[in-house]
């Protein structure tokens, strides 16, 4: 068997062939280094610090390691389960209502009427308002006895037997165990207000996606005999599904973590009927000043967020493939 003259024998002591040195270009890494440092400082470090805090409790003399005690106390309290139930109701209502309305409005705006630009501008107004401001305005509208709509809402003839005081009316008896459904009027109102606030952004997101769909595809489906519903169901939705997933992420994460609207509109009440997890977290951390337990709840919320993201991605991926 001929060996090439330069081939090393038995691992080779022969003359080495100089391999071309593989150059590692450091420049891209150097260029992204500032971004990585910023991310480490403002995202990774706080996240790790939260985990560290979650296993500690503040005593007069300083921090004391307590293991999983903060988690035990949280899971042992009725408030966590109750808040989780309210969060589920809020999230389902808020995300589904906003997504459906946004999709419907986006379909209308996609028809390119003469005033589309005006509609879009008007539509954008809620988005520029801060959560807190929007909440206060919505609150003033339905304040018992003194709100703008209280005369109408609290009219017993229209809402028997005693009229409807949105911010103070009791919730109906739960259908299943202690799960807070049907929601209280305050929770329904909170969902409406939060959807109103989020609607512009989601509508624009979906409108942008709709405008990427080629007219030929839609026309072809029509020629093939598809009606409007079938076109939407089998052509439009599958084509904008990735954008819808992004919108759903935005709504889910915003809904589960946002506290501004709850804070200014209902303050978690009446009673505990709008006491969602984010408000619970705010109460423990910023009112009770118990940062250890608040950090433990933040960790729980992060796990819920990650689970929701993973679950949504998985479901939509399956749907995308089957579509």
């Amino acid at each position: 068997m001929n060996q090439p003259a330069t081939a090393p024998l038995l691992g080779g002591f022969g003359p080495k062939k100089a391999k071309p040195r593989r150059r590692i270009d450091l420049l891209p890494f150097i260029l992204i280094l500032p971004t990585i440092l910023v991310l480490l400082a403002i995202q990774v470090y706080p996240a790790l610090y939260t985990i560290v805090l979650s296993v500690q409790e503040r005593e007069q003399t300083g921090w004391e390691f307590v293991g999983l005690q903060n988690f035990e106390i949280l899971f042992d309290s009725a408030a966590l389960g109750e808040s989780a139930g309210h969060t589920v109701v809020y999230l389902m209502g808020y995300a589904s209502l906003t997504l459906m309305l946004a999709f419907f409005i986006a379909l209308l705006l996609n028809r390119k009427s003469h005033l589309s630009g005006v509609y879009i501008t008007l539509l954008f107004i809620p988005w520029i308002l801060a959560d807190i401001i929007a909440g206060v305005v919505f609150r003033l509208l339905v304040l018992p006895d003194y709100g703008l709509f209280s005369g109408f809402l609290q009219n017993p003839a229209l809402f028997p037997p005693r009229g409807l005081s949105v911010l103070t009316a009791d919730a109906a008896k739960p259908w299943i165990g202690n799960f807070p459904f049907p929601p209280s009027p305050a929770m329904v109102y909170l969902i409406l207000a939060a959807s109103w606030r989020a609607l512009p952004f989601i509508t624009l997101l979906l409108l942008a996606a709709l405008q990427t769909i080629s007219n030929e595809v839609i026309e072809s489906s029509r020629i093939d005999g598809a009606n409007t519903w079938q076109t939407i169901r089998h052509i439009t939705i599958p084509l904008i599904l990735p954008t819808m997933v992004v919108a759903l992420f935005n709504l889910t994460l915003g809904g589960i973590n946002g506290v501004g609207m709850v804070f200014s509109l209902t303050g978690g009440g009446p009673g505990t009927s709008t006491h969602v997890l984010s408000y619970f977290l705010y109460s423990i951390g910023w009112v009770s000043l118990d940062f250890g337990r608040a950090a433990a709840l933040a960790v729980i919320l992060a796990v819920i967020n990650l689970t929701l993201i993973a679950g949504t991605l998985r479901i939509t991926r399956v749907q995308h493939r089957s579509a």
């Binding site: 450091l26 150097i30 503040r58 408030a79 911010l167 505990t272």
Partner: protein, 492 residues
């Protein structure tokens, strides 16, 4: 090569950034002194006399000499919920804002060259969290904070305020300080963690014309008056009945009611005790008031909107803290007379005119009127850079010259010092009535051993709200017991 250059450039930028972030060095005057040193003898001073032998070696040395000017005044940084820069006449906190605008120059003049008062506006709802976070991460903290008595136990638990017991005992004002105000500033260990600057006991503001037969002395009489007022389309009272602000209503009218039946919340050992016959009776009475329609719906809306019903006199009374006079305006009397300055003067004018008066909370059978003590106070955070200055500030605030302005201004209540109470400013009808009502009531410190008062108040108010509003058939004792256990299992 490019990579190396980029790396060097990046390092240079980081170094420059770090340099820019570094603290400026103190200003000093550098003087270069040339000293001549011989091999045989080193002469330090005076320089003129040192040339005794031929010069063989000259050494140059840099000596730092302090500027000959007097030491600059040191800052006293405070956190007040008032903002001296806010000149909005409609601001809710206009009185405190104006107080700071007036007081800061007076203080700075009085301590010219020694202290400079610098206030950093901190909204009241952020004060606690901001301070606890700052102390815990060893960030910059103020030298002084203005706070309410409700913060004492949480601050104690988090170790964020200094023990002032020994220092306070050595001060001239200590002997004449109101004892209940001092208790309000005491932690569960009995030590003093703040210094009271004004008293704010809870009382009842009453529209005289809604109670032509006089304000009821007992809870039973009040129910009868409630029925009479209901027939007139009015309400017996409005109160902080919502669960808003994390159950803070539990420390307001609900506590006044509980106190009027001889009840309370704190068991003295760090836990809450709710299921007592006194508390059950108090909640049962409150439930009857609400369920009979003697209280307007707005009482449960939160956000202090319950005050609306008193402002327009549709409700005849409002049990709340004395401090409330600052915020409950404008007013329309039952006669239609309007008090529309939209400042605290509206309530003071209505009291002076006899349309509104202060009364003790009606008492339960065989009991004294209930009343929760409340205070405004000053405290020194752990890690304050200038505690000496802060202590001098406290003495200044409690001085006979300065304290009246504070009490009438942001203090919004009664003086804590007997000598100040005797001053002419505090002989107006409002103050005289407030003193008389406080004397006739059984004023108690609400929290003495419970450290997580917000969580306790949340648990209490959620239970009370359920019992009086949403579930009027629920067993009171059982619900109170449940709330008690829910909180107590979080206590070690």
């Amino acid at each position: 090569m490019k990579a190396r250059f980029a790396l060097i450039a990046l390092l240079a930028v980081i170094v420059m950034l770090l340099g820019a972030c570094a603290q400026p060095t103190p200003q000093v005057i550098e003087k270069v002194v040339t000293q001549v040193v011989t091999q045989e003898k080193v002469v330090e001073k005076p320089v003129e006399k040192i040339i005794e032998k031929p010069v063989e070696k000259v050494v140059q040395q840099t000596v730092v000499v302090q500027a000959p000017t007097k030491a600059p005044a040191r800052k006293i940084v405070s956190w007040f919920q008032y903002d001296q820069g806010n000149v909005d006449p409609k601001s809710d906190e206009r009185v405190g804002n104006q107080y700071l605008r007036d007081a800061i120059p007076v203080f700075n003049k009085a301590f010219d060259g020694k202290w400079i008062w610098e206030n950093q506006y901190t909204p009241w709802e952020k004060l606690g969290a901001k301070l606890v976070a700052a102390v815990q991460v060893k960030a910059e903290v103020p030298d002084l904070i203005e706070m309410g008595g409700s913060y004492v136990t949480s601050f104690y638990k988090n170790g964020v305020v200094q023990d002032l017991t020994e220092w306070a005992k050595a001060q001239k004002w200590y002997a004449e300080m109101d004892a209940s105000a001092l208790r309000n500033c005491s932690g569960p260990d009995g030590k003093l963690y703040c210094i009271p600057t004004a008293n704010r006991p809870s009382q009842v503001f009453v529209w005289k014309d809604r109670y032509p037969n006089g304000f009821p002395k007992t809870t039973d009489e009040w129910l009868k008056e409630g029925e009479r007022l209901k027939k007139e389309g009015k309400y017996a009272m409005t109160f902080f009945g919502s669960t808003a602000f994390n159950g803070n209503g539990a420390a307001r009218a609900v506590y006044q009611t509980i106190g009027s039946f001889g009840g309370g919340y704190d068991d003295g050992n760090g836990k809450i005790k709710l299921n007592t016959p006194e508390n059950v009776a108090a909640v049962a009475w409150l439930r009857e008031m609400v369920q009979s329609g003697y209280v307007p719906e707005i009482a449960f809306a939160g956000g202090f909107q319950e005050e609306q019903a008193f402002m327009d006199s549709s409700a005849g009374a409002i049990p709340t803290g004395l401090f409330g006079y600052r915020y409950i305006n404008p007013l329309t009397a039952p006669s239609g007379k309007k008090y529309e300055k939209k400042t605290q003067d509206d309530m003071l004018d209505a009291i002076a005119a006899g349309d509104v008066y202060l009364a003790p909370m009606p008492a339960g059978p065989g009991k004294k009127p209930g009343c929760g003590t409340g205070i405004a106070a000053l405290a020194i955070p752990v890690g304050a850079k200038n505690p000496e200055g802060a202590k001098e500030f406290i003495n200044w605030t409690l001085s006979a010259e300065q304290n009246p302005a504070y009490v009438v201004g942001p203090g919004g209540g009664l003086p804590v010092l007997k000598s100040i109470s005797a001053l002419p400013q505090f002989q107006a009808p409002f103050y005289k009535q407030a003193v008389a009502v406080a004397s006739a009531s059984d004023c108690k410190v609400i929290w003495t051993s419970v450290v997580n008062t917000p969580a306790a108040e949340t648990a209490i108010m959620n239970a009370v709200y359920k019992l009086i509003k949403t579930d009027p058939k629920a067993d009171i004792a059982a619900e109170l017991k449940k709330a008690e256990e829910e909180y107590n299992k979080t206590v070690k």
